[in-house]
């Protein structure tokens, strides 16, 4: 009525906490929609395998980064090739 209420105003950090939990738990409960953490090692092995059919690279040449989001998640895969690509 006078622009303030007796209910304590909800602190901003609590909202952040709730949002973070909702996003994380949605991923954990669903098994992350096909991107379960447990499938990533296999994904990595298979990517390496495919690339090795064409270029010789080491086990450490692959770097997978993930960012889980509310609506969508992104998987960033960086593969380092040796100095020159063996392309004809």
């Amino acid at each position: 009525m006078f622009g303030f209420s007796l209910r304590p105003r909800k602190a901003a950090s609590a909202n952040t906490a709730k949002e973070r939990l909702q996003i994380l738990l949605a991923h954990e409960r669903s098994g992350s929609g096909g991107a379960r953490p447990d499938c990533l090692p296999q994904l990595q092995r298979e990517i390496l395998e495919v690339i090795r059919r064409h270029v010789q690279i080491g086990d450490e040449a692959i770097d997978i980064r993930m960012e889980r989001g509310d609506e969508l998640s992104s998987l960033e895969i960086n593969i380092e090739f040796p100095g020159k690509l063996g392309v004809n």
């Binding site: 906490a17 973070r20 994380l24 953490p37 990533l40 770097d63 980064r65």
Partner: protein, 282 residues
């Protein structure tokens, strides 16, 4: 650069943050100590040993970026470099998350040692965030430690559990088993200290706790609203707005690395009437 063995970089120091009892502030402490060391320019990694109940990632605010974990590295499914999450705020800080799905048996002594040995070469400080209890996870977290931060609340069950943990540090660790090795250097960090309740005689004093435990004091972290706020936001408390808890952690880290800093008991200022009326969201 010559590869002279005698001139090699010193290896990093492994520090376990442990307590026995749960909920006393181990993860908050691991995050705060790790962040403060990194802010002071030391290359620091914080490892979560709580397999199956990972939470360090949430407290550090990198939960959305976990791809591989400690267990993947131990089992050879990922390289250490791939599992380390670099902090976006501090370039010297990294997190090694644990697995949310495996069980504690995945932590093998040989596996943990191999990962720690590799980390010792790259980092100045390796902070091991122990799970509660004294079972396998907690034992693995302390096994290869050079130093220990025993987090204790001024409360009977916490002090009792700390005493038990101090006993284990002196008996079952790698240093305890090696003849001629210095024992693990253990220090107590008192958290959730409430000065007004100590003054009124409701809470044990720091001296009381130290008399019982008989180990050196690393610092006194006051009960502070800043800790919940930092955990809500996923920011180590020392990287959030200034607070009594942050200042106390900064002092504790100074002592941890050998600075002489006088012990003080800080407390957040109470809000005045005007501040309470014109409350700003925190």
């Amino acid at each position: 650069m010559s590869k002279d063995l005698t001139l090699e970089e010193p290896l990093g120091k492994v520090i376990v943050v442990t307590s026995g009892k749960g909920g006393v502030g181990k993860t908050t402490t691991s995050a705060a100590v790790g962040a403060e060391l990194a802010r002071r320019g030391h290359k620091t990694v914080v490892i979560d040993f709580d397999v199956g109940l990972r939470n360090l990632d949430m407290i550090m605010g990198c939960e959305r970026r976990v791809v591989f974990d400690f267990i993947n590295v131990i089992q050879g499914d990922a390289k250490l470099k791939q599992a380390l999450i670099r902090d976006r705020r501090l370039e010297n800080l990294a997190v090694l998350p644990t697995s949310q799905t495996r069980d504690k048996d995945a932590l093998t002594k040989a596996g943990v040692e191999k990962v720690l040995d590799e980390l010792r070469k790259e980092f100045d400080y390796i902070i091991c965030d122990s799970p509660a209890g004294i079972e396998r996870g907690a034992q693995m977290a302390m096994h290869f430690a050079d130093e220990a931060i025993v987090v204790t609340n001024p409360e009977v069950s916490s002090v009792r559990d700390s005493d038990r943990v101090l006993g284990l540090l002196n008996s079952i660790t790698d240093r305890a088993g090696k003849t001629g090795a210095e024992p693990v250097k253990a220090q107590v960090l008192i958290t959730r200290h409430d000065k007004s309740r100590v003054d009124s005689g409701e809470m044990m004093t720091v001296e009381d706790v130290l008399e019982v435990l008989a180990v050196p004091l690393l610092g006194i972290i006051p009960e502070s609203k800043a800790v919940l706020r930092a955990s809500n936001l996923g920011v180590p408390v020392v990287l959030d707005d200034p607070s009594a808890a942050a200042a106390a952690y900064e002092d504790a880290v100074g002592r941890l690395i050998g600075e002489q800093i006088e012990m003080r008991i800080a407390a957040d200022p109470r809000r005045g009437l005007l501040q309470r009326l014109f409350r700003r969201a925190v």
